[in-house]
């Protein structure tokens, strides 16, 4: 790779944040280099397609592997461990880190749950005195949420809820049978339920993208481009402007800066040839994911930025935080011996419960939402394990062999109801990632070392989740499966990083001493370097982060465009 051109912007990473920045900047007439560490990807390309595959098209029938931890047919190329790209954790702390290496990044496999943050989510310190407020509020982001809704498409319903804002929604699909049982159970328990909000096209939004055909396989990436992936929805249209050069299989290792401390471009490594190269740019937009962008900044040391670019405050990597999570399941006897029909639906839940106890007196701060799972899913590896274990709930003998097993399998098919909670944690200065002085990756770049511990807030919240899940599952007619985890297992609280909502490493703020970027994602220390991923989040609400990443990246991009028009960048 050799290119003498000076781009208006170099965008690092092609996920939600990078895809949006690339699309917006290119649409405004800027010349953009998009740098992606993985290969080009299009789920409509049959050589990369996993959608609509039958389980027997895989020798392992869709089982997970180290190379595809979410299953053999999952679209995401990447995982918890990448060959040649390790990370470490400080003793006594814990963190799991999912990285995608492909065009579109983690938007290829995400759950499409697309929730706006509400007004309270930007000002949590005002409510509970913990952490910090965002320097911006809902009113600053709302116009961008509105534009994202219309550009990308999201189904949902306007319910007028105070902290779960309305939007420009497509109509949602009707609930499935197990979801009707959940609705009835939740009503009995006094817990609200609403149609879910997912970025899947139940209705046409333009001529370029298709409409959902209800195969339930968004996690395999949609060949009809009827769900939101950054590649299919943002990068392809951006490339079609003719103003974007995409550099795939290219790892950015540092942002280069000049004598004035401003960025001049990026230094990259070609993963296939191991060759080093450089791209020149008038601005750099980091969207490599919260932790990868922090790593690039920390590795970008120079005379002007001795502790790393943007790190004069010492805050790069600090306040790393992930969503909380816990789950539980039940067997619903009323769903035995089901009539079998196609109930695949969209690739996710049709109903959900947003946080409903705002302002209640609880022994933890902040809330969580509830996700619903179940149904007559397509068999894959694992189907038929413990095939008739539910017989013990019926007083019948478990085990055996022969054709009677066929009856057991059909009898219990689709009789499981699952619940997962996703909550807000309290950001901590002491939870952070840093460069590990003792370890480098295959390209000689220092790797990240994570320091992360949950606090009592999250552990208490997980206990509340477990109580709630038991109540809801039983109210839905379920017999609880498994044991309720106790304090010894932190009430089933997912490990840090496991929910893959890690945010906060380059948080925004008005004070350069306690934040990395300003309210537009612009580094305090270098005015032509921007962060357009979830690193800028001051706090991660109990909402999934993608819709806010998209809205903030658009807002940052508009700021870049305006500054360039004013010739002040």
């Amino acid at each position: 790779m050799s290119n003498q051109e000076t781009y208006d912007a170099i965008v690092v990473g092609s996920g939600a944040g990078g895809g949006m920045a690339t699309w917006r900047l290119a649409q405004a007439g800027l010349r953009v280099a998009l740098v992606e560490a993985g290969p080009w990807y299009d789920p409509a390309d049959d050589s990369q397609r996993t959608q609509f595959r039958h389980p027997w098209e895989s020798p392992r029938r869709g089982a997970s592997t180290r190379l595809r931890p979410f299953g053999d047919f999952n679209a995401c190329i990447g995982g918890w461990e990448l060959d040649g790209e390790p990370f470490t954790t400080a003793e006594g702390t814990d963190f799991r880190w999912w990285r995608a290496r492909m065009l579109g990044g983690r938007t290829n496999h995400w759950g499409r749950i697309s929730l706006r943050f509400g007004p309270l989510d930007f000002k949590r310190r005002d409510i509970d005195g913990l952490g910090d407020n965002w320097p911006i509020g809902y009113e600053d982001v709302k116009p961008y949420y509105d534009q994202v809704d219309k550009l990308i498409g999201v189904f949902g319903t306007n319910e007028g809820l105070p902290n779960d804002p309305d939007g420009f929604f497509l109509p949602p699909p009707k609930p499935r049978l197990h979801e009707l049982y959940y609705i009835r159970g939740a009503r009995r328990a006094g817990v609200p339920v609403y149609p879910s909000r997912l970025s899947i096209l139940t209705k046409r939004i333009n001529r370029e993208r298709g409409v959902c055909v209800y195969c339930n396989q968004c996690s395999r990436a949609c060949g009809l481009h009827a769900d939101f992936s950054s590649s299919t929805v943002l990068v392809y249209p951006a490339v079609a402007t003719g103003r974007v050069d995409v550099y795939t299989n290219t790892m950015v290792r540092k942002v280069d800066t000049g004598p004035d401390g401003r960025a001049t471009g990026v230094s990259c490594i070609d993963r296939e040839t191991r060759g080093e190269s450089r791209l020149n740019g008038r601005s750099v937009v980091l969207a490599a994911s919260a932790c990868s962008s922090a790593r690039i900044l920390l590795n970008s040391t120079s005379a002007q930025h001795s502790s790393g670019l943007g790190n004069s405050s010492g805050h790069v990597g600090r306040y790393l935080h992930d969503s909380t999570g816990a789950s539980r399941a039940a067997f619903l006897p009323e769903l035995m011996d089901r009539d079998i029909y196609n109930e695949d639906g969209v690739g996710g839940m049709h109903v959900y419960t947003p946080w409903w106890l705002e302002g209640a007196s609880l022994d933890f701060a902040r809330g969580y939402h509830i996700e619903i799972g179940g149904g007559m899913n397509m068999p894959a590896y694992g189907f038929g394990f413990a095939a008739n274990a539910y017989k013990r709930f019926l007083g019948e003998r478990v085990g055996g062999y022969g054709n009677a097993l066929r009856d057991d399998v059909r009898r219990f098919y689709g009789s499981r109801l699952g619940i997962a909670c996703r909550g807000e944690s309290v950001p901590q200065f002491g939870n952070y990632c840093e460069l590990d002085p003792n370890t480098v990756d295959d390209w000689g770049v220092p790797v990240l070392r994570f320091n992360y511990r949950w606090t009592e807030q999250e552990i208490n919240q997980a206990r509340h989740m477990q109580d709630t899940m038991e109540e809801l599952l039983e109210a839905s007619g379920g017999i609880l499966l498994g044991e309720k985890p106790g304090l010894d297992r932190q009430y089933g609280l997912a490990r840090p990083g496991e929910i893959i909502h890690e945010v906060g490493t380059t948080r925004m703020g008005d004070d350069p001493a306690t934040s990395v970027t300003n309210r537009f994602g612009q580094l305090h220390d270098a005015d032509n370097v921007f962060v357009a991923d979830a690193g800028t989040f001051v706090s991660q609400a109990d909402k999934n982060p993608t819709w806010t990443i998209l809205a903030l990246s658009w807002r940052t991009s508009d700021h870049i465009i305006e500054r360039m028009r004013q010739r002040s960048l």
Partner: protein, 236 residues
């Protein structure tokens, strides 16, 4: 790949170590055990690293012929082929088990040790290894280890092994076309979801709430491009 026809069969001589002539239930004839051979080439959106890994797995041979015949015999007992939708051998179970234990190598030892346990048990009880004894004797052994509630400590290793083989057999069968047919699975096709069928709702004594239904997609308008007024109301 078509596993409905049994043109491509793997065939191994039954009971090479055993004494008498035996025949595997359902699928054996002339002292042989037959099963549908599974493909060794797959193409489903793999990366180069994944293709390489699968090539290596297919090149490796883990089980001996004796072990493979024992697996075939056991899978056939668990899900026999005397059924319109076929059984374990029609679904190529021995090939599936061979592949999956190499892919998930933590399964290698449990399956190999389980076969050894089964043979020891058969020799102690009936004087020959599992595939060398009479069919009725094999079923008698399975009756002892197919029920996890049996407390006899001497049988626990066998019970664990049988449970594992039952899991692998059912998962290997239900992830084939025969298994889909047996289950009646209807999905994995493009369609338009318009709610739970009315007769199903009636059977469960459930109904959609009118207020909820009003918010849902009118599928006759799904192809009309979305438009909204300034108050976030869909107008198309």
């Amino acid at each position: 790949m078509n596993m409905n026809r049994r043109e491509t069969l793997k065939s191994l001589l039954l009971a090479p170590l055993g004494a008498g002539i035996a025949s595997a239930a359902g699928c054996a004839g002339g002292g042989r055990v037959n099963w549908t051979e599974l493909p060794r080439e797959y193409s489903y959106g793999r990366t180069a690293a994944e293709r390489q890994r699968d090539r290596e797995l297919f090149a490796e041979r883990y089980f001996s012929e004796h072990e493979l015949i024992t697996i075939a015999t056991l899978c056939d007992i668990i899900l026999p082929s005397d059924h319109p939708n076929g059984g374990a051998l029609d679904a190529g179970l021995p090939d599936f088990v061979e592949f999956i234990v190499k892919d998930m190598d933590y399964l290698k030892t449990p399956v190999r040790d389980g076969i050894a346990w089964l043979d020891s048990h058969a020799i102690d009880a009936y004087g020959a290894d599992f595939i060398g004894i009479e069919e009725a004797q094999r079923l008698a052994i399975c009756d002892r280890i197919a029920w996890p509630d049996v407390a006899d400590p001497a049988l626990q290793a066998g019970i664990r092994f049988f449970s594992l083989m039952r899991d692998l057999t059912l998962t290997g069968y239900y992830t084939t076309a025969q298994g889909f047919r047996d289950l009646g699975y209807q999905g994995n096709v493009a369609n338009v979801w318009d709610g739970v069928p009315a007769q199903v709702l009636a059977r469960h004594g459930l109904a959609y709430e009118a207020e909820w239904l009003e918010k849902c997609i009118d599928q006759s308008r799904r192809d009309i491009t979305a438009a909204w007024d300034d108050d976030m109301n869909l107008t198309s």
